[in-house]
């Protein structure tokens, strides 16, 4: 048995109402580790042969909540949420911070595999090996903060009653969906602790489609035993002491970005990416810090950075809004991207999006898209239910966000996410609206543009990544330093990539060995293990279906807007070089073993022992050739 694992997984079938335990061979755990990698493996094994027919929002899809051997050991534990994505129709390993993963491992499980669909709303409660499905009728329809309050109280009372002799119980950890997930909004997220979300992928809709409101867990055991605890301790120390050096990073978190990426690097979405530059000093991090942050260092289990900040609006029209930071992505997508440059308004919208259980990036993207159509007269006031969708009109966007969460009026169309909404509205208006959509593979792109060349994504990062527009899984060359193979380790580990990049660069390999007892080098990781996950994810992305199928010749590309010249700011006129993209893309394809169309080659797959994937991809090869 490999060290560092509880080596047990819960297998919950909501249609049948059954709860079983399951496990994986050492071989599988060695290759796929946990989290994102294991998600790809489980999905391929269970759904691979019918992948194109599996409706992401139907009972056949799986919802996976997975940890990894490093969860709780590597500073900053996370949990990976996955399944067939209702956004990309492939697989996204979407991770979120919080104590859920640690509690689950202390309960004796490495993960939860949820299949089927419940008839009535339920939640799953795990207390060590006591696991039960409980009625969630009373929290169905409730927003995030209400759900957390009711279920924390209820489950703690239950623990205090059932296990009175223990003393005072701490709160159990909880993953949940808000109303948006219940209503199968494709931009819905799985959340924890009010404001943390597994954003990319749309797994809130998957969880909601299964009528699973929450998973609550209290584990009283230790973390699964590590192979070399002394080594783990010294590694924790070395990561932490390096992180402690980054004073401003700790102080501001990503919240410094709302001003920085606009004013300094011209790479922030402004008014649906029509611009990427602004110099709004009123949106500076100091404004958030001095006016709104009531707790400057806020974090989760084991984190040395505590990059979160607790923001509370204490006065004025938006009094009562609470969220974290907002972090850079929220400052951008629920701020500048909507023409909003007032910190209080940004906190208010972010808090609302949290409460409804929506992804701030995907929802900010689809609202920015709608506002641009409004600006261009493509969508009229009647089309948007009488809302004045002007840039900076926070109240109109707040009304729109509720319509999206409850699928009312125009909200029902926008609830499909930007890519699908563009197709629907385009059909209605008889116009090609994809030119205004900033996405890759159905996933709206994170708030870091490529045009100025001054931000960290590369020109093929979004185009070739197996998680589409996900800015937390950017790819590029060389593979061993700059590709998403490294993110696959973070997301399979499962731990925080921030503490990974701000600590010693090889620490995660050392951690893996110290916890599991298995050797792992960067080279081996990139050539074999991570490559298996990458190829599985690529294969399922290309198979896609039923409602979206990608053609890599067209879809392995940046959105059209990334080729328009920047219209303003010091980087005015700069844009992404299309020829350079094409050249870089082909180099990347070769490096990862894909043919000139971006399809994994038989040779590469067979070498990795993925012959069944090769056979399945014949369908894709035929489809591409047919269209040639």
């Amino acid at each position: 048995m490999i060290k560092g694992y509880a080596a047990k997984f819960l297998d919950v079938n909501l249609s049948a109402g059954t709860i079983k335990e399951t496990g994986f061979t050492d071989e599988v755990l060695k290759d796929y580790v946990g989290g994102r990698g294991l998600a790809a493996k489980i999905l391929w094994d269970r759904l691979g042969d019918k992948w194109e027919k599996v409706d992401p929002l139907g009972p056949e899809n799986l919802l996976l909540l997975l940890t990894g051997p490093l969860t709780g050991y590597f500073p900053g534990g996370r949990t990976c949420v996955s399944g067939k994505s209702p956004q990309s129709n492939g697989v996204v390993g979407s991770t979120l911070s919080g104590e859920f993963g640690v509690e689950l491992r202390c309960a004796g499980y490495d993960g939860v595999i949820v299949s089927g669909e419940s008839e009535k709303p339920v939640y799953l409660m795990i207390k060590d090996f006591d696991v039960e499905l409980r009625d969630a009728g009373h929290v169905w329809g409730k927003d995030g903060k209400q759900t957390v309050a009711v279920l924390t109280r209820e489950c703690r009372e239950l623990l205090n009653k059932r296990y009175r002799q223990f003393g005072e119980w701490k709160e159990p950890a909880m993953l949940y969906v808000g109303p948006a997930g219940e209503n199968k909004v494709r931009t819905a997220v799985v959340m924890t602790k009010w404001s943390h979300a597994a954003g990319y992928g749309g797994y809130g809709a998957v969880m909601g489609s299964k009528k699973l409101k929450a998973v609550v867990v209290k584990g009283t055991g230790p973390l699964p035993e590590a192979a070399d605890l002394d080594k783990v301790k010294s590694l924790i120390k070395s990561v932490c002491s390096e992180v402690y050096e980054g004073e401003m990073w700790r102080r501001w978190g990503t919240g410094g970005g709302g001003y920085y990426f606009g004013a300094k690097s011209s790479s922030e979405p402004v008014r649906n990416w029509q611009e990427e530059w602004h110099d709004e000093k009123g949106f500076g991090v100091d404004k958030f810090e001095n006016r709104l942050w009531v707790k400057q260092y806020w974090g989760d289990f084991g984190c040395p950075t505590t990059c979160l900040k607790l923001a509370v609006v204490r006065s004025g029209k938006y009094k009562g809004a609470i969220t974290d930071n907002p972090d850079y992505e929220m400052q951008a997508y629920l701020g500048t991207n909507l023409g909003i440059f007032v910190p209080e308004e940004n906190v208010f919208l972010t808090s609302l999006v949290d409460d409804l259980g929506l992804c701030g990036i995907q929802t900010g993207s689809v609202m920015g898209f709608a506002a641009e159509l409004f600006q261009r007269g493509i969508l009229t006031k009647e089309d948007v239910d009488g809302l004045k969708l002007k840039w900076g009109n926070t109240d109109a966007f707040a009304a729109l966000v509720k319509k999206i969460a409850f699928r009312e009026g125009i909200g029902d169309v926008l609830a499909e996410g930007t890519y699908r909404a563009a197709l629907k509205i385009g059909k209605m208006k008889k116009k090609d609206l994809l030119r205004y959509v900033v996405h890759s593979k159905g996933i709206s792109i994170g708030a870091h543009g490529t045009r100025s060349g001054k931000d960290f994504p590369e020109i093929i990062s979004y185009a070739c990544g197996v998680q589409g527009g996900d800015h937390t899984s950017l790819t590029g060359l060389p593979l061993e330093r700059n590709s998403e193979l490294m993110e696959i380790l973070n997301d399979s580990g499962v731990f925080c990539s921030f503490n990974s990049f701000s600590g010693p660069q090889n620490a995660k390999f050392g951690f893996y060995t110290a916890v599991t007892g298995l050797k792992l080098t960067r080279k081996e990781w990139c050539r074999t293990r991570a490559m298996k996950t990458l190829q599985l994810q690529r294969a399922m992305l290309l198979l896609g279906g039923p409602d979206a199928k990608w053609d890599p010749r067209v879809d392995d590309d940046n959105p059209p807007r990334f080729y328009e010249p920047l219209p303003s700011g010091p980087e005015k006129g700069k844009t992404t070089d299309r020829k350079a993209v094409e050249k870089y893309k082909q180099r990347y394809y070769r490096a990862v073993g894909w043919d000139k169309y971006g399809i994994p080659t038989s040779e590469a797959l067979v070498k990795l022992g993925l012959k069944d994937v090769d056979v399945a991809l014949e369908k894709v090869r035929k489809r591409i050739r047919l269209n040639e």
């Binding site: 709780g72 050991y73 104590e99 640690v102 202390c106 903060k145 209400q146 957390v148 309050a149 924390t152 109280r153 703690r156 002799q165 223990f166 003393g167 005072e168 701490k170 709160e171 602790k193 009010w194 404001s195 584990g219 009283t220 055991g221 230790p222 973390l223 035993e225 605890l229 301790k233 924790i236 932490c240 002491s241 402690y244 009531v294 707790k295 260092y297 806020w298 974090g299 989760d300 289990f301 084991g302 984190c303 040395p304 505590t306 607790l310 509370v312 204490r314 009562g320 609470i322």
Partner: protein, 176 residues
């Protein structure tokens, strides 16, 4: 430097707590040789997000827990003033939990004895990690007889209510 001869106390500034739980990690690594949050002598409660705080023995002036023990399993350390648990003697009856105004002691999750902060024999590990990361929620001070330490033995729900008022004002009640 930690004063070795005089008893110490861990001063605590709860509103500063980041919720990083490094104190739980350090405590359980030291006492259990495992990362084991529920066996930790210091436990971070988060009954409402944003309102995290460490909950651990305040060494009340009158030590009601020690007085409540029917088998003399609890004693007061002469060196540190900490409450010491004799795990062999402890019958896990839970009387000390009820006697504590803050219901701070809790059962060991696997073994049959109570868990109470022992101040690591004068060199508390939780304080070290809290200071290393400069959160400074915890700080070692000299123990003075006149201080009302008992005020810090409050129930988690009560502390949460107070922090809710501080951070979330009127609407704090909604989240309890």
């Amino acid at each position: 430097m930690t004063p070795k001869k005089e008893p110490i106390w861990i001063a605590r500034e709860l509103p500063r707590c980041s919720g990083c739980r490094k104190c739980e990690i350090a405590c359980s690594l030291f006492h259990e040789k495992r990362i084991w949050p529920d066996a930790s002598m210091i436990r971070v409660f988060m009954l409402v997000p944003g309102l995290e705080f460490p909950h651990f023995c305040a060494q009340c002036e009158d030590y009601p827990c020690v007085k409540s023990c029917p088998v003399d399993a609890l004693s007061i350390s002469k060196k540190t003033a900490a409450v010491l648990v004799d795990n062999e003697k402890c019958i896990a009856c839970g009387k000390c939990i009820d006697a504590c105004p803050g219901r701070i002691p809790h059962m060991h999750p696997k073994e049959k004895h109570i868990v109470i902060c022992d101040l690591c024999d004068g060199d508390p590990q939780c304080v070290k990690v809290c200071q290393e990361g400069s959160w400074n929620v915890l700080r070692i001070v000299k123990r003075r007889d006149e201080t009302a330490y008992k005020l810090y033995a409050r129930k988690p729900d009560e502390i949460t209510r107070d922090l809710a008022a501080r951070f979330y004002g009127d609407q704090g009640e909604e989240y309890l």
